[in-house]
Symmetry: C2
Subunit: 123 residues, 2 copies
């Protein structure tokens, strides 16, 4: 190791002498780079207080479906902001939307929350 | 409803006449605003491909603890970038850090991933 190499690492985390075995064994498979991208995208869609509450309300509604009219007041945000969050949740595969009469209804995609939680319970 | 009111909502999501009952019953409790803030912060810390892979490697390591020297190469990022991600994971309560000799070791906080997944499996 040269001094130039050392400038790239902190003192705490500088490479040990080659004679020191640092690398512990892995006891199980880790997440692949491709899976990590997919999981991170899903979690990012949920990693917002308003979106968590919206999903929570939809999931707790009868048939896991809620009218948009039931979603705006509880989260205390404007309708355009709620619609923005709902779109992110739809794009990420957590909700589907259908229109019946005047109202739009948002339904939880079965299994989508379990799929999002999967990397956390299996890592 | 006046025309002024109508400009605040989209056509799809315009308020229905008062005579139409739109509000379905909730079948269980939903996440509170305060809990949503806490859960969202945790999920945000995990909602990154590199951080998911780092947590995954630590969790799969013997004793759920890994030397930083085992974390840099697998994720294919520079040491400063890996350290940045590790700090975010520590700040969010997923990892603790200790130094033994030359190396820093990162250990998974027991139960922290389950706590992060909780809102997804209970909503």
């Amino acid at each position: 190791m040269t001094l130039t190499d050392l400038t790239l690492v902190t003192r705490d985390e500088a490479a040990a002498p080659a004679a020191v075995a640092c690398c512990g064994p892995l006891t199980r498979e880790t997440i692949s780079a491709a899976d990590a991208e997919v999981f991170a995208r899903r979690l990012k869609a949920l990693a917002d207080p308003a979106r968590l509450r919206l999903v929570s309300i939809v999931a707790a509604s009868d048939g896991q479906e809620a009218c948009v009219c039931d979603l705006i007041e509880p989260v205390g945000l404007s309708q355009p902001t709620v619609s923005h969050h709902l779109k992110i949740l739809m794009d990420a595969g957590f909700l589907t939307r259908s229109k019946r009469g005047t109202w739009a209804y948002y339904k939880l995609v079965p299994g989508s929350l379990d799929a999002a939680a999967a990397p956390l319970v299996t890592v």
